[in-house]
Structures are given as structure tokens and as C-alpha cells.
Point group: C2
Chain length 362, copies 2
């Protein structure tokens, strides 16, 4: 997608042919910086420090990390060490291990002098495949927005939670992909952006990427969505997800469940966009089986922004002697979800729906 008219991906090969560039997402929206990764250690740091985040993007950056490791040392031992270190950078992200193993398995049988180039090519393939997959999610979600536009004859108001945009993938995003597709086709869209406390990925990342691409949007407190739906001001909700059970329960950023309840109560369609790699075919009961990460209280008690002097600064917003809890995700039961948008098409939020699209998992 574009930043003020210039097309970008969230990770790309530098023209120098010896390094990878990323967007430092910890600095957004206050500064746009493109750190250069030239070593394995820099790749691990970028993932661990969340300069890159979003499962698909982490996978792609880690794949390039294997290449950078092999440029310095293409030996078997170095390959094994690099793969293990990258996977350990954020052990919960499914795509990370998947992408690293894919590059590892691709280059391990090759002679040492071929490995680096082959790893680079495989990493680029992984990145390109992610773009194609997200683009396909966008195309399959587009008819939902076209339907609203046709039905209402006015701008389509879409609510989203957290950031499932191009910054979370290599390009296009998941939840935002149909919105970018609609914008490309000239359909008038407006996005209600949940700020998404406590880490504020909506206000910091989703608002930023929509503004830079030129898509109309409005930031709201997470509390506001239900009221907007009661008054007919939301036509459609689209979110991403971190894990989907085979029965259609959805784990996503904390607060998604509350929005799904409000959408259901007001007959607003609630769709979840995902690449099929997000489906956990073993899990059947999301609330009982999906472990919810409890993150540091400091994410609730402090917040970062730009001070009146222009400096980026962190302040405390909860009194010092009040503890805070910070569950990072919640589970939305399948019964509240209108359906899924995947790279193969749309389906019902149910085992029948998912297996219908992905019959290998029947």
C-alpha cells in the first residue's frame, strides 16, 4: 500500500543486495524510519523488540533473517543455530517457526556456496506469497463492501479493531485488505478505528496506514462502537484474528468479543479475515482451549505519545498504588460471527464452513 503516494511493503530487499529494510513500527505514528537489517542479530532484535509485528510479517522477516545468517556463515552449524535463534525470538507466533523451517529445509540439502542465494530467493517467495494471499482475502471480502454500497447507496462505514492492515503482513493486510480493494475500485468507504487499548494499535498503526494511503477514517474509544451500531452508523465490522478453532471460535485482540456482541445485538454483519495458516485444526472450544496471554501491567498503567514539545514520551495514567491486569486477547464464539474471509473465499464460521473451503482437514 502507499505512504503519501509511494508504494511500500512492510519488508523489502534493499537495492544494495546485501540487506533487508523494514519499517520500525515501534516509532509509528510519530516517526517513519526504515532500519536496515544486515545480520542475524539485527533480524532477531527487530522481531523481539516488535519493530515488526503481525504474524505474517514476522514470518517474512525471519525468513530473510536466515538469509542474512547464511551470508556470514553458510555452514550446517550456523544454519541450525540461526533457525533456532529466530524461532526463539517470539515463540508464540505460529508463522515465525513455519517460515524459518521452510527456508531451513529448502537450503539444508544444498552445497554451502549456494545456500545464501537460495535462502534469499525462498524468503522473497514467502513474502510474495503472503502478498498474494492477502490480496486474495481482499478480493473475497470486497463483495461484502460492494453489497453495502449497493444496498445503502452511500459511503460504507466499516468498523475494525486493532491493526490487521498491511503493516501486520507484507502488504494489503487481512481485515483491511477488502477495504483497500474497495478503495481501489472507487467505492466510498469510511473506517471507524477502535483505538484498541491498551497498546493502541488502532490509533497508532491502523489510523496511520489509512491516513497515509488516503482512506477516510475516524478514531474512536473502544467504548464507542456499540453506540455507533445502535444508531445505524456501522454497516459492517471486519477484524483479523490470531487463532481460529476448527469450530469457528476466534481469538483476537482483547475487546473483539464486546464488538461482536454489539454487532449481533444490532444485526450488523461481523466478519473475520484470515489466511488459512491461522486455523488451529486441533482446537474445538476457543474459550476453554486457547490460552490467553497476560501481558505486563505497564501496558495499561502507562502510555506513549507525543508531548507538546514534540518529543515522544511515556506517561503514567493509573495511580501508582493501583494494580492493573492486562489480558491481551479474548475469544469470540462462532455463534456471533457472520463468516470468515480467507484466501480461498468466504465461508460460515463453523466446522462445516471451514472444512468446505479446506477439505484436506475434513
Amino acid at each position: 500500500m502507499k505512504i503519501d503516494g509511494t508504494p511500500y511493503r512492510s519488508v523489502w530487499l534493499d537495492p544494495d543486495g546485501t540487506s533487508v529494510r523494514i519499517i520500525d513500527q515501534t516509532r509509528l505514528p510519530w516517526a517513519l524510519e526504515f532500519p536496515r537489517l544486515t545480520t542475524l542479530d539485527q533480524s532477531i532484535h527487530a522481531i523481539r523488540a516488535m519493530q515488526v509485528r503481525g504474524a505474517p510479517l514476522i514470518g517474512a522477516v525471519a525468513a530473510f533473517g536466515v538469509w542474512l545468517a547464511l551470508r556470514a556463515d553458510p555452514s550446517d552449524a550456523a544454519l541450525t543455530r540461526a533457525a533456532a535463534a529466530l524461532i526463539a525470538a517470539r515463540p508464540t507466533a505460529v508463522n515465525l517457526a513455519w517460515a524459518v523451517r521452510r527456508v531451513h529445509d529448502h537450503v539444508a540439502p544444498l552445497p554451502m556456496y549456494d545456500r545464501a542465494d537460495a535462502a534469499r530467493a525462498e524468503a522473497m517467495t514467502i513474502a510474495d506469497e503472503d502478498v498474494a494471499q492477502c490480496r486474495a482475502i481482499g478480493e473475497h471480502g470486497l463483495p461484502l463492501i460492494e453489497g453495502c454500497a449497493r444496498e445503502n447507496g452511500r459511503i460504507v462505514n466499516i468498523l475494525t479493531h486493532c491493526n490487521a492492515g498491511w503493516l501486520a503482513t507484507v502488504d494489503w493486510g487481512t481485515a483491511l485488505a477488502p477495504i483497500y480493494c474497495a478503495h481501489e475500485r472507487g467505492i466510498a468507504v469510511h473506517v471507524w478505528v477502535d483505538e484498541t487499548r491498551p497498546r493502541n494499535q488502532g490509533a497508532s498503526l491502523t489510523a496511520w496506514e489509512l491516513a497515509r494511503h488516503g482512506i477516510s477514517h475516524t478514531v474512536i474509544a473502544d467504548n464507542a462502537g456499540g453506540h455507533l451500531m445502535q444508531h445505524g452508523r456501522v454497516d459492517l465490522v471486519i477484524t483479523g484474528t490470531d487463532r481460529v478453532t476448527r469450530t469457528g471460535d476466534v481469538a483476537n485482540k482483547i475487546g473483539t468479543y464486546l464488538k461482536a456482541l454489539a454487532a449481533y445485538d444490532n444485526d450488523v454483519p461481523f466478519w473475520v479475515a484470515l489466511p488459512s495458516t491461522t486455523i488451529d485444526w486441533q482446537a474445538r472450544d476457543g474459550i476453554r482451549e486457547i490460552p490467553i496471554e497476560e501481558r505486563p501491567a505497564a501496558e495499561v498503567t502507562t502510555i506513549t505519545g507525543r508531548g507538546m514539545d514534540g518529543d515522544v514520551t511515556t506517561i503514567r495514567i493509573v495511580p501508582k498504588d493501583s494494580p492493573a491486569a492486562n489480558p491481551a486477547f479474548d475469544v469470540t464464539p462462532a455463534r456471533l460471527i457472520s463468516g470468515f474471509i480467507t484466501e480461498r473465499g468466504r465461508c460460515a464460521a463453523s466446522e462445516d464452513g471451514l472444512v468446505g473451503l479446506f477439505p484436506d482437514h475434513a
Copy 2:
């Protein structure tokens, strides 16, 4: 209630006999200051600048404001001017006009030299009545907490939204009154405090008053309540309200509706505490009839807290070219509410329930 062991009200007559003291709530939780109000203008400023907020407290402070005006000038003209100026300080607060008119009507027939003393006495009566009413709400809500304690045999977890504590009234509060009563009786309670974006009254005021009184609590992002309810970690929800229709619909701080939906979905009792002055006996359909105040976007795009240098500072948390919307209240339909806790007792969230307790309005 207590601040670190010392009993306080949120407004009181200074022992000097010529002024009123308040707690500057715009400075909480970072500084505890007791501004002295000695003039009408200072009283108006305290209300307008939200040094005092919460409908019952605003009413009491305004009543004292009439007294301060009459100390300077007890003439008919001064009385009329003072009443009009106080009512205009925050025109939407029902209790403000009610309290000012009550003092006005009480002193208007009196000779000039008696007016100031009579106004002071009437203001004190209004404050005392508010305390008694809130205390009664606490007593009538207490059995709900006692019931949970008996049933579960462990600490009772109560979730609340925004601040409907003693800081919003003269003492005790509305939603928090049953919690203070339970604490007084030695029942172990723990309060989940919604931070309550965008103005953060939960994190700034509710957490502060609970900490100072010694009540166990944990601050959470507004997104977290549904997840906690899904996992049995909330026994009871109690909120306050700004306006209740005769049919039982409840207008309260934005986000209340989302919590009511989650409570309903998880069979968690959802109670609303209110003095009967909050009931709008004319309104029947909350969503259609109650106007929702749209407040400045800056409340969403900026936030105030304590910087690492110890100074209280305001930072921007939304990119500059992203607009924000800020609806301040939402309406929770009566069907989601377990019942009301009033100064006369508890009742169903329905016309029959309310009229049963307040038969004058049948």
C-alpha cells in the same frame, strides 16, 4: 469515605464559617488539593472547570454557591443573578438546577439579613440528604454482594465502569455505595475498575478513591471485561447512570452498553444504582429519546498523566491527521439490566418496577 484513614466528604463547610472546601478532581489522582471557595465566581468556576463533577456533587456545590453569593449581596437582584449564573455553569446537569432553585425558593421570602444563613443551612441540608440517600442505596445494594459472598464462599468480584463513587456525590457514591457498605461489614470484595476511555475516570478517580479507602481493586482496559466474565472472574456488575427512562433504559458513560451485553451473555447480574432524581419519567425509549452529548475530539486524541520527571503532562496519542469522534454516553436497553438499586430499595428495570417503588409517578 476515607482518604488514608481520614474521613472526608467531597464538599464541606470550612471551619472558618465563611467558605466551602472541595477536592479539585481535575488534579486527581496526581495531587490532592482542597481549593477554598469564598465567592459565587469561584463556585461557578469549580463547576464549569469540572473541579467538581457528578450530578449530586454539582448540585451541592451550587447550593453552597448561592450562600456565598448572598454573603456578598443578599438583595433580590443578586439572588436572581446568582441562581441564573450557577444554573448556566453546566446546563445539562439536572441536579444543578434543582438544588439552586431549592435554595433560591427557600430564601427568597426571607428578609435580606436572614438570607445568607438560611441558604447555608439549606445547602447543608441538601448535602446531608445526598449522603443519606447514597447511604440508603448502599444498604439496598448490600444484599446483592452478601448473596454472592454466601453463594461462592470467596471474595466477591465486582466490575464497575466510570466513576459513580463518593467523589461523584457528597459521600458514599451510587454504584460504589454497596461496595463501601460491604467493606464496612467485613465482606471481602475486589473491584475490577474499567479505565473508562476517553476521560479515564475509572483509572483516575475510581481507582484513587478505592485505593485511599483501602478497597482491593484492579484497573483494566475497557476491552477486558467480556473476557473476565467469560472466565467466571466477575460476580456482579454495578454502574451508575446519568438518566433512566420510565421504561428502564439507562444512559450512562460510553461503553456501559458493551459491558451489559457481555454480562447478559455470561449470566452475570448487571445492576444500576441511582437516586430517584435520575429518573426521567417523561422518556420511554432511551435510544430514540435521550440525546447523547458529542464531546471534543481532543479527549480521544490526547491524554494526561504523570511524566517520568514527575510533572503532570498531556501527550497526543492519535496521529495529527486522523480525526476522532467522542460520543460521551450510550444507552443500555432495560432488557439487559438485572435491576435498579435506589434509595427506596431494589426493583426490576421496567416501568412496573420503577412505578412500584415510586407510585406517585404511576
